[in-house]
Symmetry: C2
Subunit: 224 residues, 2 copies
DNA sequence: GTCAACAATCTTGTATGCAAGAATTTACGT
DNA sequence: ACGTAAATTCTTGCATACAAGATTGTTGAC
């Protein structure tokens, strides 16, 4: 039971943030978390520092830790970065794709198809993440794949909102299909361009949704 | 004097690692560092955690912290990631380049030219870093630029060896010239391809050097 | 002489204590 | 009644304390 607190806490907090149980902007009180997890402040602090480094938490000196709340500009920029990284992954994956990578991608893609057929957005969400992760892994570059995964996790709290956009799931799957086609044909440039567009359009649709939500919030303001 | 220890320590250790005063693979003893900096272990630990997150340090549970020593495979993969990120920066920068970005890039490029003219490798090193950073900034995407800077810092301990490759400085500057030309012409794809090649060739030449050094070390082994 | 097991030591991981800055509340003046 | 300032309270940042795993050295047996 010794020497395993900090990683456990980091994972627990990470799950809470990514799953939306801890909302962007929310303050993370050290003693509160320490009480809740039954540990002292020390491993909590260390977990928060790690989360801050991975971009999920922001630590303001002497003010405390907060779940990162990306502003509109940072969100656009983050999606653009994600689009560039994923485009690179697609290009390299198309060149290097091995049989087992093919299988993993095909499997994740099938899971997405299944979720679309069932109109099951709750299932599409993780299947989609797996599909993208399979493309990262297919680059054969673990450093690149790790970076892509880290960025994906950082954006997850925001992506979840975006699935509420009508018919987004179907559109997303259709884009996946085109991406898989280019990947399996070994067409790096096409795969890169399609994946870049896929991520960018996610960002754009998300921003549209965000703008609508903000307009709504300003029209009907209430204390939080 | 309060609330400033951890950032100070992080920067000091980061400088030591990047400048090569702390060698890759070296162990970082918490009490030793605490004594050296005149603080307790707590801020040292927090600084080490941050450095581990930024990729400069590796913390092995219950074993201690070590300056990261990238293996050949990880080095190749890291340079490939860097090449992809920089290529994206170049393409976006060529599209969005503002007058002040132009000036900053031209200035850094001139500093590189000066260093080449003087055969001053010690001056070329930071000027080169500034040149690349100027390209990142010219994307107008701060998230992307920040990521590129972080990766650049992580590879710096390894790059420094590489400048020992004969005539590398002149070759590097010639490549910069072609990159600037494409950037200032607004030719995104050309700028991206040239910068990608520029970084990849750095990685390849570095790997060649590394292989030579390792062969040397194995031929003439001695205790460390 | 070498290898293995045990003991002493060292180092990390976590808990706790304390001081200084931030936030909040209260009291006072206008 | 409202704004400002002082005081109280709360929270973080760092120091110190302690326990458990890792490392190292020693001793014993084969």
């Amino acid at each position: 039971m010794r020497g395993e607190q900090t990683p456990r806490l980091r994972e627990a907090l990470e799950d809470d943030i990514v799953a939306g149980r801890l909302r962007p902007g929310q303050r993370l009180d050290e003693v509160g978390l320490a009480d809740r997890f039954g540990v002292s402040r020390t491993p909590i602090r260390e977990a928060l520092i790690q989360l801050a480094a991975s971009g999920l938490v922001e630590i303001r000196p002497r003010r405390g830790a907060f779940v990162v709340l990306l502003g509109p500009r940072e969100l656009i920029e983050s999606f653009e970065l994600m689009a560039e990284i994923e485009a690179s992954c697609a290009r390299l994956a198309a060149q290097r794709l091995g049989p087992s990578d093919r299988a993993t991608i095909a499997e994740a893609h099938a899971a997405c198809r299944e979720a679309v057929a069932c109109h099951d957005e709750a299932a599409y969400y993780p299947a989609n993440a797996r599909f993208h992760a399979a493309v990262y892994a297919a680059t054969g570059n673990r450093v690149l794949a790790g970076e892509a995964l880290r960025l994906q996790r950082g954006l997850q709290p925001y992506r979840r909102l975006q699935l509420k956009v009508p018919r987004r799931m179907q559109a997303s799957f259709a884009e996946h299909e085109a991406i898989v086609e280019a990947l399996f044909a070994g067409d790096g440039p096409a795969a890169a361009e399609r994946l870049r567009a896929h991520v960018l359009v996610q960002g754009e649709r998300f921003m549209t949704l965000l703008a609508a939500l903000q307009a709504e919030a300003e029209a009907e303001p209430r204390a939080g």
